[in-house]
Symmetry: C2
Subunit: 184 residues, 2 copies
DNA sequence: GAATTAAATCTACACTGTAGAATTTTAATT
DNA sequence: AATTAAAATTCTACAGTGTAGATTTAATTC
């Protein structure tokens, strides 16, 4: 009887073993704990469930990771539109980077997603932070692209070099960007 | 005799089937053709050789990819230190991006490498292009970090969204950076 | 000529995502 | 109440991945 064989089929009573929420929560835990995307088998083991059970809730692994990404990205810093814009942007960037580095794989998942919803979250928050500047579209867009891609590059470096790069590394480059912005 | 069984053991005469160079060349071809890192089996098949033969020349797949990376990065644009620095930097960035997007996987391989030789190539060329500005160290370093990580972010976006992003997308953000640089 | 090294193949393993079928329970329909 | 359908789960199995280890053959060295 070495390995306990679990009973097959739908569980009795109202004791559903799983739910999207539970799966996502555990996936986030493992992602943060192990610093890398868990395998479906590892995730299922943690949930005490057969790996294939996950497919009842998500079409495939990519869909699961996208759901994790959407859910996590809501948590980035919400800037105060009436604050000091430079400090607000800085805090937003730090928050974004902390998230992307605490949950490796988020970045690639986000960039590969068909819906750009998650990517828009950062951009929307950036607009909030920059409200005081009242930038025109042609001024805002290059800044947005520069900032987003720069942070993605830093996040990628962080996740290729775990623990070796602090989020503060963006401060001097951010100053450089700000300088180009204030000297219009 | 459906499948032809190749003769085992060291080949006769001076007809060595493989060499580091041949492997690297074919790896680059497949990388560019298929737009993704080939499997060792695919690479070996293209070379008409057993997959394990590759391990005679490289310790593992990562080592092979690192060799590809080192070899390819030499090819980026060599700026003229006496040219117009803005145009030189722009051309360097375009060249760097074209390389990173033509050979997906290069970026991650480079960032994960222990030796930072390959990453230094871009930085050295950037210094060349910026010679006319005679920047102090404290001015150069933020610029270097900003530019490198920004380009890596763009390259990542390109490789997550194949064919959808032209290298020219960096032009406006580059102008923004240049502005912060000329207004010292 | 014997021993060593070089260059290759073969076999086999653990790990991955996941397709497809079987099983058990609950809900819906007749 | 009986039947049918749907939901929630497990089991089995497969193809694809990198690669460890043993084996084979030929060239080189002593």
């Amino acid at each position: 009887m070495s390995v306990k064989q679990k009973k097959r089929g739908r569980p009795a009573g109202s004791s559903k073993a799983l739910s999207k929420l539970i799966i996502l929560q555990q996936a986030k835990n493992l992602l943060a704990e192990q610093g890398k995307i868990p395998t479906l088998r590892a995730l299922a083991a943690e949930l005490n469930v057969d790996p294939m059970a996950l497919y009842h809730y998500f079409a495939n692994k990519a869909a699961l990771l996208e759901a994790v990404t959407v859910s996590l990205l809501e948590a980035i810093y919400q800037p105060n539109p009436e604050g000091q814009w430079q400090a607000e942007v800085r805090q937003l960037c730090h928050s974004y980077l902390e998230l992307l580095s605490r949950y490796p794989g988020l970045l690639e998942t986000m960039l590969k997603m068909s819906t750009d919803g998650p990517a828009q979250v950062f951009i929307a928050r950036l607009e909030q932070a920059l409200t005081p500047l009242a930038l025109a579209k042609v001024e805002f867009e290059p800044l947005r692209d520069l900032l987003a891609d720069y942070l993605h590059g830093v996040a990628l470096a962080m996740q290729c070099n775990p623990g070796g790069i602090p989020v503060g590394c963006v401060d001097a480059p951010l100053d450089l960007i700000f300088r180009g912005l204030t000297s219009r």
